[in-house]
């Protein structure tokens, strides 16, 4: 059977599974649709949260991000997991006790203000829509590559599948579909990693393999990697080559941003009890860690593999000839994601850091005239892993299914957050307060369908800023929603003026800072300062500004609170009541 048929079979089978689950778990009420009737087992919810959270970026790109920078990009590992500690300790149990359907609903009710609710809806929409464009575009790319169809056809299939299970099942359908998607994506990620780890270190567990001995050289794997990299003029893998301050702030921003992302927060509304919300955050992190502990191993091992493939006799010897290159290099060269150019015409692949001044002399001595691996897309690392490890075709098909599962599960979670904000927070609470539960359910489904249509159109013509906007989404989640939720829980005296001013200051400062360096609304050439470390205020990268935005939000809210009236007594009582778990079940119907 050829690779294409295998891909079709395995991807088709997983899609049939997702849609089957959606039909089995159709939503019958708004409570089903928004929160799966709060009947989800905390471990199941943990796996669903993990799938919801781990996007195509985690699945496909993260290992590559770490592989090419090494230690410096550990920020992604710590940032994208550390946020769950904040969620479990500071947000999840209390929001579950409050027993509402959406994040803006909590903010609106706690701060007794429709304006606060609308500011929260705006933040939620900006965060989720920008994020979902990337997911849909990613799904389109994955489809076109593995199913050999046009990019737009791939995107349409993806949105058709999401439409089926998300519109039909709402949160209930999404939860169980995400559970299945988690199983697909983690299997797909782990199998090739295990084989590569066995090949390189003899250790079948990649996270342990990363810190064990490289079988061929007898050196520790990381020492070997540092050695071959520096011999080719690259930075060493385990050292820090950027500013420590920025790494600190970037990690912090990713953590706070993670804890403030609405589609992740609403997953904790689905469990039966407050205690389950805490536990579920722990399980989510375990399921995420299975991938996140494997990713650095995949990154380091793939990087080492590539260098030793090109320099089979050691970096001091001649690299391989073009005619000798392994099949996977040729396959990927055909996609354009990997490209070579024989600059010195010697028929061999020279791969080294031609930007390094120290290495220039060595290169000249050896007759090298520039790095010949001219394009090396970082996403190849995970996608080509099965081929590098020479695994059978069905593993390659599984990777395709895994990448799609990662993109689609995150897209579904985001679409649910978007549609519930529209149907519940805008329609039900502001524009049409009189609609019945049934009509609201219909409105929720229509807004979901509408959101999918918008995401598909935008995914088809992704605005140039889609990649940069991820930083914006994280920054805004960190600077607006997280502080508002936290103050709503931990400060009895925080009032509506404080919350609104805080959110607006966080929103404004973050937008201003990001737009200053990346252009107004990301329109090219409208940035007021060049995006270089010299121009950054105190050396803070626009990607890391979320943490600063959060601090500004807290400060502005505190000052405003001190200058204005206390919140009414019943709100202060409400805050007291969300702090204790008892009575959470009573809060379900409202």
């Amino acid at each position: 059977m050829d690779q294409f048929t295998l891909n079709l079979l395995i991807v088709g089978a997983t899609f049939a599974l997702y849609i089957g689950i959606a039909i089995w778990s159709r939503a019958g009420s708004t409570s089903d649709f928004y929160t799966a009737s709060r009947g989800v087992n905390p471990i199941v919810n943990g796996a669903a949260t993990a799938a919801d959270w781990m996007s195509a970026a985690s699945f496909i790109s993260m290992a590559g991000l770490i592989a090419f920078v090494g230690y410096g990009n550990s920020s992604f590992l710590m940032g994208w997991t550390g946020g769950y500690v904040l969620l479990a300790l500071l947000l999840a149990p209390y929001l579950r006790k409050f027993g509402r359907f959406t994040v803006p609903e909590f903010i609106g009710d706690r701060f007794y203000s429709q304006s606060a609710r609308i500011v929260a809806v705006v933040c939620l929409l900006v965060i989720s829509i920008t994020y979902v464009i990337g997911q849909m575009a990613g799904a389109g790319v994955a489809f076109s590559r593995f199913l050999e169809v046009q990019n737009s056809t791939g995107l349409l299939i993806a949105s058709g599948v999401v439409f089926m299970y998300a519109v039909l099942g709402g949160m209930k359908g999404i939860t169980y579909t995400q559970l299945a998607q988690y199983c697909v994506l983690i299997t797909a990620y782990t199998i090739p990693a295990v084989f590569i780890s066995i090949q390189l270190t003899g250790n079948p567990l990649p996270p342990l393999g990363l810190f064990s001995t490289h079988a061929e050289s007898g050196l520790p794997l990381l020492t070997k990697l540092d050695q071959v990299l520096t011999e080719l003029g690259f930075h060493d893998y385990t050292g820090l080559h950027s500013s420590m301050f920025n790494m600190f702030l970037f990690t912090m921003s990713l953590m706070i941003g993670t804890a403030g992302l609405p589609h992740v927060i609403i997953r904790f509304f689905t469990v039966p009890r407050v205690a389950d919300a805490r536990k579920s955050a722990g399980w989510a992190l375990i399921f995420i860690a299975l991938l996140y502990l494997t990713a650095p191993a995949v990154g380091a091992m793939a990087r080492l593999n590539i260098i030793t493939t090109i320099f089979p006799d050691g970096t001091a010897e001649q690299p391989i000839e073009y005619s000798q290159q392994p099949d996977w290099m040729e396959t990927w060269a055909a996609t354009g994601l990997l490209a070579f150019e024989d600059k010195n015409g010697d028929g061999r692949i020279q791969y080294y850091n031609d930007a390094s001044d120290e290495f220039a002399a060595t290169a000249a001595e050896r007759g090298w005239e520039g790095n010949e691996m001219v394009t090396f897309n970082r996403d190849i690392l995970v996608l080509a892993n099965p081929e590098i490890a020479q695994l059978p075709g069905w593993v390659i098909a599984l990777i395709a299914a895994g990448g799609l599962a990662a993109a689609l599960s995150t897209a579904a979670g985001l679409l649910l957050a978007i549609s519930s904000a529209i149907s519940h927070d805008l329609l039900k609470s502001v524009f049409m307060p009189k609609i019945t539960d049934k009509q609201e359910l219909m409105a929720a489904r229509i807004s979901m369908a509408f959101a999918i249509a918008v995401a598909t159109v935008l995914g088809m013509n992704p605005p140039g800023f889609a990649a940069q906007v991820v930083a914006l989404a994280f920054g805004l989640a960190a600077a607006t929603l997280f502080p508002a939720l936290m103050m709503g829980i931990f400060s009895r005296k925080m009032n509506r003026q404080g919350a609104i001013v805080g959110m607006l200051v966080g929103l404004g400062a973050t937008l201003l800072y990001i737009f200053t360096y990346l252009g107004w609304f990301f329109i090219p050439d409208t940035n007021m300062l060049a995006n270089t470390p010299d121009n950054w205020l105190f050396g803070i990268s626009p990607l890391s500004f979320g943490a600063i935005g959060a601090v500004l939000n807290f400060l502005a809210a505190y000052v405003t609170m001190k200058l204005t009236d206390e919140p009414p007594a019943h709100i202060q009582d409400l805050v007291e009541s969300i702090r204790v778990p008892r009575g959470a079940e009573g809060a379900i119907d409202h």
Partner: protein
């Protein structure tokens, strides 16, 4: 003296454990993996050929995070029962 079983005392105990957990959270990630890494590098042992700080950055902090959440969950369940505020 009777033990204080009020909601205020429960909240105080909760805040205390949250702060302890957050200090550990910060030390294992921002501390060991980033700021204190140069100091840890002076330790006389390595893990897989690199210093402890690198291990914390790539794996250790994540394992600490998992441990923290489950410890907090266990502690709070006990606290909920002790203060009689748990869900039946």
């Amino acid at each position: 003296m009777t033990l204080d079983r009020t909601a205020a005392a429960y909240w105080k105990a909760n805040i205390r454990i949250i702060l302890i957990c957050l200090v550990i959270w910060a030390i294992s990630s921002f501390g060991f993996a980033i700021l204190l890494r140069p100091a840890l590098a002076a330790l006389p042992f390595t893990i897989g050929g690199v210093d402890l700080g690198f291990w914390f950055a790539q794996q250790g902090s994540i394992l600490v995070f998992i441990g923290l959440i489950f410890y907090y969950t266990w502690y709070m369940n006990r606290l909920d029962r002790e203060f009689d505020v748990d869900e039946k």
